[in-house]
Amino acid sequence: MLPPIFGVLFDGIAYGMLLFVLSVGLSVTLGLMNFVNLAHCAFAMLGGYVTVTLVNIFGWPFLATLPVAFVAAAVTSVVLERLLYRRLYRASDLDQVLLTIGLAFISVSVAAYIFGTIQQPIATPAALRGSFDFFGIGLGKYRLFLIGIALLVTLAMVIGLEYTRFGAQVRASVDNQRMARGLGIDVDWTFASTFALGSGLAGLGGALAIEIVGLDPNFSFTYLVYVLIVVSVGGLGSIAGSFAAAMLIGVSDIAGKYYVPELGAFLIYLVMVVVLMWKPAGLFGKR
């Protein structure tokens, strides 16, 4: 028999994986353009509602909706990027914060208008329900699936960034934008596509999150806080940093809620403040 701590650890890791998928896109776009996008989780929420609609109204199988959630969030984000974000790349942090908080507010209202304020139910496939018994602790099948997807995403991102031409352009632009421009890299295009990919991943994360944390119109803000913590603790523009930070925050949050429930979310905020005081640029940050 394994002690319950392994079960807590397992849930924490699964939760961390979810946070990673939700936040990695923001980390890359923040590192790339230094743009403070507080509407990131609105794209995640969009993915969530796309999945809910397709499953509950059109009867699609859950798994088939995931790519659609990705694409919907990616396309919407690129439209907004071209219309609004692009004009504020050189503006102050404050203007970026205000614009994107405004968009997040709008997303909350629109979601509440269309879907109501209730938690959305979701039917996951039978194969993902229930749990395996592993030496006395229950490993949720859905959580295992989540970990699998997150590892696939990580693998795809690492390969994409390390071994493709696009990845090289992204890395060059993150490292030194001026030099990248000098080398003839179309930084604007690189950003737009990275932004779309990052938001798409958020959309995927939003769809995957429904089963774990539920979905309601406040998702845009509730998870924004988590995502920002992951990004700033991990360090801007660092995939490894986001991964490590997502694990740290996921495990601390679940463990905190399990062992010292009276502290609530206190623990993760404390982790964040302590890490940032120790390393203002985050664990893996360069700046």
Binding site: D93, L99, G102, V108, S232, L276
Partner: protein, 328 residues
């Protein structure tokens, strides 16, 4: 306007700090609710408190350029301090106000050492984190704050032992308005002081400040502490005038709302926050019939519009318009 005698440099700076007739008109207008809208005095009191809160954010954001997403922490500390003080010590309002201001200032001073080390995105994150942390502490310390059930047992005695906080909010508005006006006078003096000039220098060019021998971090610590004191006063005013304190006073929502009001009115202009707060609160009151989530739809639209079209807020837009008009 022809000015035959050129001003001395000192005379010029002095003239810039004189009261404009519009300012006097503004403060006279704050007395109107007593005469014209006696049914809205409670709302007027809330507006005065919120306006003061926006003014406090203006000192750090509008003048020193320090963006904070967690300013409600100090509001909340003030609100709970006043509540706890009235329950466990005594209900005399002025002493409660002072205790709240002092405690908020103490926390502001302590955290200012963290704040002043950061800029840009890390600063936004740190202020957000500290704000959420404060909210969590208030939520967890159920024995002290009542947590999500709200604080029970605030009892505020009459002002000077004479003026009871009545149902119509007459005393409440007079009290809040007096506090707003007095603190505004102090803030106005601060803005026109050598220190205020240094804060504007930090906002205009952080990198140049060390090259003229300025210790920007020390300035920011001081400004942040002062802003915390004022925010603490606001929280205490809300507790005393409503006889209640709740988690709402320390929430992220409040931090975000005050930012919206300030930016809507125009940051860095003293009156921007006051006007932004009045518009925001009156609009919210008028639309109170609709569910809060739809209210935020309009706030969102407003924010996007202000950022895209009115980068200096309503007051900035107005003064630009006036400038264009007078040049013709």
């Amino acid at each position: 306007m022809a000015n035959p005698t050129p001003l001395t440099p000192q005379g010029y700076l002095l003239a810039r700090t004189r009261w404009h007739p519009l300012e006097i008109l503004f403060w006279l207008a704050t007395l109107l609710p007593f005469l014209v809208f006696p049914n809205y005095l409670s709302l007027a009191s809330q507006i005065a408190i919120t306006a003061l809160f926006a003014l406090s954010l203006d000192i750090i954001l509008g003048y020193a350029g320090v963006v904070s997403l967690g300013h409600a922490a100090f509001f909340g500390i003030g609100a709970y301090s006043a509540a706890i003080f009235s329950k466990h010590v005594w209900g005399e309002p002025f002493s409660g106000l002072l205790v709240a201001a002092a405690l908020a200032g103490l926390f502001g001073y302590a955290t200012s050492f963290i704040i002043s080390r950061f800029r840009h995105l890390p600063l936004i994150m740190i202020t957000l984190g500290l704000g959420l942390l404060a909210h969590e502490v208030a939520n967890s310390a159920h024995w002290l704050t009542g947590g999500s059930d709200g604080f029970q047992g605030v009892s505020t005695e009459p002002i000077f032992g004479l003026f009871r906080f009545d149902l119509y909010g007459k005393t409440a508005y007079a009290y809040s308005l007096a506090a707003l006006f007095i603190v505004f006078l102090c803030a106005r003096r601060l803005i026109n002081s050598p220190f205020g000039l240094a804060l504007r220098g930090i906002r205009e060019n952080w990198n140049r400040m060390p090259a003229i021998g300025a210790d920007s971090r020390a300035h920011i610590r001081k400004a942040y502490t002062i802003a915390a004191v004022i925010a603490g006063i606001c929280g205490a005013l809300l507790t005393q005038t409503t006889n209640s304190a709740s988690l709402e006073s320390i929430s992220f929502q409040r931090s975000a709302d005050v930012l919206v009001m300030l930016v809507l009115g125009g940051a860095g202009r003293l009156y921007g926050g006051l006007i932004g707060a009045a518009i925001f609160m009156i609009a919210r009151d008028q639309f109170s019939g609709i569910a809060p989530q739809y209210w935020y739809f309009w706030i969102g639209i407003l924010l996007v519009t202000v950022v895209m079209l009115l980068p200096n807020g309503i007051l900035g837009g107005l003064s630009k318009l006036l400038g264009r008009w007078s040049r013709k």
